[in-house]
Amino acid sequence: MRLLRKLLKKLINTPRNNHAQQPPGFFYMFNAGRLKRHSPTITSVLLISAALLLLGGCAGTAKPIAQSDTNNVDPYESFNRTMFKFNDHLDDYIAKPISDAYLWVTPGIVKSGVTNFFSNLKDINVVLNDHMQGKFGQGLEDTGRFLTNTTAGMLGLFDVASELGLKKHEEDFGQTLAVWGVPQGAYLVLPILGPTTARGLPGGIFDVAANPTSYVGMPVNLVSMLNTRANAEGALKFIDEAAIDPYVFTREAFLQNQRHLINDGKMDANVEVQPLEYDIDSDVDEKTTGNKAQKPAAVEKDGSENKETDKSLDNAVFALNKTSESMEEASAKLDNLKQKHKRRHHRAKAQRHKSALPPA
């Protein structure tokens, strides 16, 4: 149990994706040390994924869970939206300012060195997952990549391998689970860690365990988080500019990109991503034939286990709502204080001015 806790703690502490270009998978860091509050969520998520593993076989015949059919993949939308907002606040008030400062003071060569260093350590996990997915050729290539960058690339500070034509691959245990046939499960937004799925969660634990960065302690972890956030700057800016509903935008982009990575960029035969299926007439087809039922249902609603899960999720939503509110209050207070200070400053100045005048 202690080991599990430790692992979970590591999971909370370490961002899982260092990829700069993709909108999804970046995200929020800086654990405030509230593991206790978070752990029910994580346990419940583990329960969901366990339930999914058991029920995976009958997913094909499962009834669609939501009557509103808005989204089978996101049954916990209200919870997730709260988390999303919470993470957004956390990013606005803590992560973004630090990251901006880092980007401003750090020369480009240092930044790319830091990125390369952590990316190189992640390659160990890539190699492991290559083999677990049966991609032995790619595994060999990635091993070469890691060895080249560790030696000629001076412990990974320089990405020499890419120059030599050994491209970086994106593999993680979440993808391996997908290749093994584990269904995706519900979309989840976790505090600090950001978007994931019921399948991505155990995947994340494995990835953290397979990353040397996890074992060296706080300062290195902090730099790794800072690097992740700094690399996500472009993606976050893009979302901010393009999204009319940033929550939905992030969810869709995250899930689609996951699918893309799982299929190694090959076209997916899955109806959901086949964009030519969107003609109005096909919409009608889908409605009348009830194609929706064929899509994997996210979560089964029966069983007391899930009721409990729902309850603990509700509790977590409540707690996070409160935290989010108090953060908003705190920021309002801060603004007030600033205003007051300004006013007092002005008044003092005026007073000084007055007293300097000769008495009438």
């Binding site: 808005t70 990109n257 299926e277």
Partner: protein, 207 residues
């Protein structure tokens, strides 16, 4: 004599007519392929990027307006992006949506492709898709960064191939917008959707 003249005229006339018909037939046979439509658009985009700084947002917008409308089926995308809700909109609302959607699409191009830093597009492959569609796979190479895969989903509009959707590294622009719009429409309604899109357009223009 005059009869012969009239006959000659008729013969010449019918020949000309025949010629016209064959030429137009030839023109039809030589239709532009889906791949050509994509490549033409990409070349135009790169050309606009190259003089992007000098053109400014307005200049890029005006040029792209022509290029995008020529190669993309914007009215159809706007219509299907709101799915079955389209039927429930009034004619006026439909026209409004089509108009702001096309503005948004062009503005997004003008904003995101503002200058040139050595980008190139390369054609990878083409394949048949369902319902007579075609997919053109291309790669966007940005120096110093990982390549981005751009897949163009093409469909015929009358006799011309048009871009219906673009998928960048597995993320479908259409699917993103569709989910977003559905969410806004169901929660806040049509006017809010238009207001939000207009806000984006203004922001793109301001930066």
């Amino acid at each position: 004599m005059s009869l012969v003249k009239i006959m000659l005229k008729k013969i010449v006339f019918s020949f000309v007519l025949l010629l016209c018909l064959t030429v137009s037939q030839l023109c039809l046979a030589e239709e532009v392929s889906a791949r050509q439509v994509v490549e033409d658009f990409q070349n135009e985009l790169l050309a606009i990027m190259k003089e992007g700084k000098a053109l400014g947002f307005k200049g890029r917008y005006d040029k792209l307006d022509v290029a995008v409308k020529k190669s993309h089926d914007l009215p159809k995308i706007a219509r299907s992006v709101v799915g079955k809700q389209w039927e429930e909109l009034s004619a006026e609302q439909q026209a409004k949506l089509e108009q702001v959607f096309s503005q948004l699409s062009v503005s997004a191009y003008a904003h995101n492709f503002k200058d040139y830093t050595g980008e190139t597009f390369t054609f990878i492959s083409e394949e048949e898709a369902s319902r007579g569609g075609q997919v053109i796979h291309t790669n966007l190479h940005i120096p110093g960064e990982k390549d981005v895969k751009f897949d163009y989903w093409m469909k015929k509009k009358a006799d011309d191939w048009r871009i219906n959707n673009i998928i960048a590294d597995g993320v479908s622009d259409f699917a993103l917008k569709r989910s977003e719009y559905a969410s806004v429409l169901s929660k806040e309604g049509f006017d809010a959707l238009i207001a939000k899109i207009t806000e984006k357009i203004d922001k793109y223009a301001a930066q």
